[in-house]
């Protein structure tokens, strides 16, 4: 455990060593706060809740999470520091977990800094704060799941742009798989079970379910298994590709 924290601490601080963190936070917070007002009809709905805010999160994360995840391993490989990291007395699992926790921690900071919005709705009306808390939790899990996927793609290449593009495509696919546009080509020939399975792999479906204010077990299991799967894949990829 100690090794995980040592890696996580270094990685987390490295975000703040460059303007990267500041640029990321400014853009993320600016867009996250603007969307509900300009597109989400925050005032016009005349309902004191944060639905217009949270419903944009999957699409925001689709770009912002791979932007954080892309450097996790690609950067180590490009700089050659992966050789240093892999020859420290740490297991690959410890290194993968440490880096993931650091990046997820950073996304947590970004998400937490959106709190003025919830203060605003509290001031303007009397929202159901339980729903808001659950939505924040769901959003946090969603970010973690997308990050774990991005981490695996980052481990595949030394090129951050390639890692970014692959991660965006993967996140997009995972988001959309519950929608008719993805399911339509399967209808007519695929068995019903397969179509159900694909639609259950959708991040969007599970996220929307939780946004109603209930932590449902299938959703929780889905997000956590996706994180587990992404990290497991990262460990396997780092292990087989560490020296290329």
């Amino acid at each position: 455990m100690n090794g995980v924290l040592i890696v996580a601490r270094r990685e987390f601080l490295s975000y703040f060593a460059t303007p990267l963190a500041a640029v990321f936070l400014v853009f993320f917070l600016g867009i996250a706060a603007a969307l509900p007002f300009y597109i989400g009809n925050f005032f016009g709905r005349n309902i004191a809740d944060l639905e217009p805010f949270f419903s944009f999160h999957p699409w925001l994360y689709m770009v912002f999470v791979p932007a954080i995840g892309m450097r996790l391993w690609a950067e180590e490989r490009r700089q050659g520091t992966i050789e240093l990291l892999m020859t420290l007395p740490l297991s690959i699992t410890q290194a993968v977990l440490g880096k993931f926790i650091a990046a997820w921690g950073f996304l947590t900071v970004a998400l937490a800094l959106t709190f003025p919005l919830s203060v605003t709705v509290d001031y303007l009306g009397s929202p159901d704060n339980g729903v808001i808390v659950v939505s924040y939790f769901a959003s946090w899990l969603l970010a973690g799941a997308m990050l774990a996927v991005s981490s695996a793609f980052s481990a595949l290449t030394r090129n951050q742009v390639v890692a970014f593009v692959l991660s965006v495509v993967a996140c997009f696919t995972l988001l959309m798989s519950g929608l008719e546009i993805v399911l339509a080509p399967f209808r007519g020939w695929a068995p019903r079970e397969l179509i159900d399975l694909i639609s259950h792999l959708s991040l969007l479906t599970h996220f929307s379910d939780m946004m109603r204010g209930v932590i449902d077990l299938p959703g929780l299991v889905f997000f956590l298994s996706l994180i587990g799967f992404g990290l497991f894949a990262t460990v396997a990829i780092v292990d087989t590709r560490k020296a290329r």
Partner: protein, 242 residues
């Protein structure tokens, strides 16, 4: 007692390319062994297998008796390793970087400060401890690289071209540091292209070419290989085909 470094029939293939074939040698405590060979001979690949960065295709590498492939974390605890080109986290200050490495290598928190101060004084880094690593000159970076390798006082050191790219004064300092480390009882394997380095620093030489050990002996043994009696001639005799 187990040798500090011991490789037996160490072999590495990359696809169809045979990089290292059946390399066996040992380094015991207090020895400084020069690892010689032309570019592409397999020096770095061999060192990476010893350091646990690459898994061997066949054969074993042991550090202090621990099989590196079987028990990598335990083996790496005994090891200080300077990778080729001394890669470092450029966005950290020297002090933060050494803190990180010391923590990761299991140096107890109570003595970490003391160790870092002692090592940085020894390799003369005191003036740059709070500078970002990517703003340092090559000489300083290499010293940070060597400092991180010895920060936990390991029994075994594997240094891949520690003097590469340094000026003559810096080379001299680095060599005297390595010699001191050898005298203090560490087992040291250094790769180099500089034959005079072998003369001044190493008690033994392992020469490889095309992935195979061509010679294992003292610098004097190596010199005796050639009629001219110089290391340069001997190196050429052993590694130039025909």
């Amino acid at each position: 007692m187990a040798q500090a470094i011991e490789t037996s029939a160490l072999t590495k293939r990359f696809g169809t390319v045979q990089a290292v074939t059946g390399v066996s040698f040992a380094v015991s405590a207090g020895e400084v062994v020069g690892f010689l060979g032309p570019n592409g001979a397999g020096k770095t690949t061999t060192m990476r297998m010893i350091a646990g960065y690459l898994d061997p295709s066949a054969g074993t590498a042991r550090i202090c008796g621990v099989d590196v492939a079987e028990n990598p974390v335990a083996a790496k605890r005994h090891l200080g390793y300077l990778p080729e080109g001394a890669p470092l986290y450029g966005d950290m200050s020297v002090r933060d970087f050494l803190e990180f490495i010391a923590a990761a290598r299991g140096v107890a928190k109570s003595v970490r400060r003391e160790r870092i101060d002692a090592i940085s004084a020894r390799v003369r880094l005191e003036g740059v401890m709070d500078r970002r690593i990517d703003t340092l000159s090559k000489g300083f970076k290499r010293r940070v690289g060597i400092a991180q390798a010895v920060i936990h006082d390991p029994e075994v050191l594997v240094l891949d071209e520690p003097t590469d790219g340094l000026d003559p004064n810096q080379k001299h300092e680095m060599r005297s540091f390595i010699t001191d480390l050898g005298r203090s009882g560490k087992a040291i394997l250094i790769s180099t292209h500089l034959l005079e380095e072998v003369e001044t620093t190493c008690s033994r030489v392992v020469l490889i070419d095309a992935g195979m050990v061509k010679m294992d002996g003292t610098p004097a043994d190596l010199r005796a290989v050639s009629p001219g009696g110089t290391l340069d001639d001997a190196f050429r005799t052993l590694t130039v085909p025909g």
